[in-house]
């Protein structure tokens, strides 16, 4: 019942829902709620999720709270149905997991550098100036991650509202991302 109420409220608010594993149960909620509820990632490690949140939030403030890690992790389980923008940018669904894992592991190593701020990390990444970066070029990863973060923060009805844009949906997004 509680879940049904939550779902109805979310639909009214136009937030997009997906299924997340929270404390051993699959719950239907938005990526932002999944984050607050402490969802268990299915494809990424906790460490990769933490790096993802730090970098994405630096690029697009609000990405962490909007549930960037839950969004990307859930899309990585979606196979050919993945809605990640990487699909347009030459990273087809079967390669997306490897793409994020390699970059996030490189990002984790970079963030472990003593006294390195997230802002400086992003500067190095976007200029391809990270030593021993693995996977796709760092600047390309930063472009994709910024686009993902724009999706979760500003690509929703709530995001449009923050920018003062009327959403004017014909059919509102109601189900999972």
């Amino acid at each position: 019942m509680a879940l049904a109420t939550t779902r109805r409220r979310l639909l009214t608010g136009g937030a997009a829902l997906s299924w997340f594993l929270v404390n051993g149960s699959w719950l239907c909620m938005s990526a932002a709620q999944a984050r607050v509820a402490g969802f268990s990632p299915q494809k990424l490690t906790d460490e990769q999720c933490t790096t993802l949140e730090i970098l994405a939030d630096e690029l697009v403030p609000g990405a962490r709270d909007a549930g960037i890690a839950a969004f990307i992790d859930s899309q990585l389980t979606a196979g050919e149905e993945s809605l990640l923008i990487a699909k347009y940018l030459g990273v087809p669904a079967p390669q997306q997991l490897g793409f994020y894992q390699a970059a996030l592991d490189s990002g984790t190593r970079l963030l472990a550098t003593q006294d390195l701020s997230a802002a400086f990390a992003i500067e190095l990444i976007s200029k391809d100036e990270v030593l021993n970066w693995e996977g796709a070029p760092a600047s390309f990863f930063s472009f994709v991650l910024r686009a993902d973060a724009l999706d979760v923060v500003y690509g929703t009805e709530h995001g449009f509202e923050q920018l003062g844009i009327p959403y004017m949906a014909h059919i509102s997004p109601q189900e999972a991302w």
Partner: protein, 522 residues
């Protein structure tokens, strides 16, 4: 191999692909009494699937086997191709333009690319009939560069703030504009609603204001009894072992199982890359692929080099208003193809309704703005940005081609591979026009101007039509040269690209094909 899928007992015609070309042909042929089955690789879609979200819209794109892409101007198959009923046309922007007369004879006139085996006058009646069937809005008189043709059935869409602001730049630099002709209803048309100017066309128009095949050809095809088999991925055409020119049907995969379906006639309308891939996959040990006797199959692949110019204004532009395709058009430089170091026609599509995110969004295109500066910048842009897109002509070259990759998909079918490099004259044209576009933006009063990268818009060629069998794959009706009953439809037939969006022309060609096939059957 299983023969004949359920509900598909021996059709007269098999059409591969339920997109813009395939559904037009299906409707027209079935309405003359032919039994038609359409095999569609993607899922069944209806207008209720067209959710207003750029993120959700990605589901509508190609999700079949990956296409390997090479070259300095990759064709962008994942973005440009669709999947499921309606194909990529399900969420196309409805910019419907006729090719200009000179586009049909670039080889004779300028010594580049290929000529078409038909001219504008041959297609004119089909442009006219298709436009009244699907419904176009525009102002033919204001389009001073438009080749002769019937007036549009509906008046143009309104011009909103962004269009008015950008028009000043064209006026001040001595360039003419006209309302953009669109396959979008400016008023109710044939039972379909008028546009609401909310800018969701890129995610698909569920109210039917935009003439996508789900609301134009599909209902007619269904009414005429066409059977559409979804999730049916066609691998190759089947040939009569005793008569190579005779095509007996197609082989396709559905849920991992191999099937065959037979018919008197087969039409491949699977969009450019897949159409060529299906023919290439149909070679066997003894015989080259249909249409490939002279190694022409897959060649002359073209894609319009495009780019968007942006400007930030003090004036309010309200860029969320309008339609994704734009509000105005300028073809002033279109017919000046030969310009020394640069070659080709080009057009400006002006004042698109635009979103903050997604590939074409204004936020995505400015990776230099992030962190705390981002939100105020986006808030400013959400009220003050202007944008317009350059579409330039590509030169058809034999070395730009679709071929088979060494890699295979889960069913063991060779993947398609594309190689596409721009001619230096085309690259020069793009640079020149993008620089002019920025001047136009400044003249319109923009306080800040920038442009996006060069991108590939539309995919054409690969199974080009022509009179000379040694330089083409099909005749002017799309019949594959060395076959009796195998046809191709869609932009893969285009011998040269022109610089206009291709769907009106490919629809006019499909209309001519339908008329020809009907006459042949009588």
């Amino acid at each position: 191999m299983k023969s004949d899928g359920a509900g598909m007992d021996s059709p007269d015609t098999i059409i591969v692909g339920a997109g813009a070309a395939g559904l037009l042909l299906a409707a027209r042929l079935a309405e003359t009494g032919r039994r038609v089955t359409v095999l569609e690789a993607g899922p069944k879609r209806s207008t209720s699937d067209l959710i207003s979200s750029q993120i959700w819209a990605r589901r509508l794109k190609w999700s079949g086997p990956h296409v390997e892409e090479l070259g300095d101007h990759k064709v962008g198959h994942a973005f440009n191709a669709g999947f499921g009923t309606g194909g990529s046309a399900v969420h196309h922007y409805g910019v419907w333009l006729r090719l200009h007369r000179g586009d049909f004879s670039v080889a004779s006139d300028h010594g580049v690319g290929l000529d078409w085996p038909l001219d504008y006058d041959t297609l004119r009646a089909h442009y006219d009939s298709v436009q009244s069937e699907v419904g176009l809005s525009g102002d033919a008189e204001a389009e001073v560069w438009r080749p002769d043709g019937a007036d549009y059935p509906m008046p143009p869409l309104p011009i909103f703030a962004q269009g008015r602001v950008l028009k000043k730049g064209f006026d001040k630099t001595g360039r003419r504009t006209a309302p953009l002709p669109l396959a979008i209803n400016s008023q109710p048309y044939q039972g379909r609603a008028a546009c609401q100017y909310d800018g969701w066309c890129d995610a698909g128009c569920p109210i039917g204001a935009l003439a996508n095949p789900l609301v134009t050809w599909l209902p007619r095809a269904q009414e005429a009894g066409v059977h559409i088999e979804h999730n049916a991925f066609v691998n190759r055409v089947l040939r009569d072992p005793n008569k190579a020119s005779r095509i007996t049907g197609v082989e396709y995969f559905q849920a991992g199982e191999r099937h065959s379906l037979h018919a008197q006639q087969v039409i491949i309308a699977a969009f450019t890359v897949q159409s060529a891939r299906i023919l290439l996959s149909s070679a066997d040990n003894n015989r080259p692929a249909p249409g490939n006797q002279f190694d022409q199959l897959g060649r002359y692949l073209t894609s319009h080099p495009a780019g968007t110019v942006f400007g930030l204004f003090d004036e309010e532009t309200y860029p969320h208003q309008g339609v994704s395709g734009g509000q105005l058009i300028s073809h002033d430089d279109y017919d000046k193809k030969n310009q020394g170091a640069a070659f080709g026609s080009s057009q400006w599509l002006i004042a698109h309704a635009i979103k903050p995110h997604d590939l074409l969004g204004y936020g995505t295109g400015r990776p230099d703005i992030s962190g705390e500066k981002l939100k105020p910048w986006l808030q400013d842009a959400a009220r003050h940005i202007g944008n317009m897109t350059l579409v330039a002509e590509d030169i058809a070259k034999p070395e730009n081609r679709i071929s088979l990759s060494g890699q295979r998909d889960v069913n063991g079918i060779a993947l398609a591979r594309t190689e596409h490099n721009l001619d230096t004259r085309t690259a020069q044209l793009w640079e020149q026009r993008i620089a002019e576009g920025q001047d136009i933006m400044r003249a319109a009063g923009a306080r800040e101007v920038w442009h996006g990268p060069r991108v590939a818009m539309h995919i054409m060629g690969g199974t080009v039509m022509g009179n000379d069998e040694k330089l083409s794959v099909t005749d002017s009706y799309g019949r594959v040269h060395d076959t009796d009953n195998l046809y191709v439809s869609g932009p893969s037939l285009f011998p040269s690209s022109g610089a206009v969006n291709p769907t009106f022309t490919l629809s006019a060609i499909a209309s001519r094909q339908a008329e020809h096939l009907t006459k042949q059957a009588d």
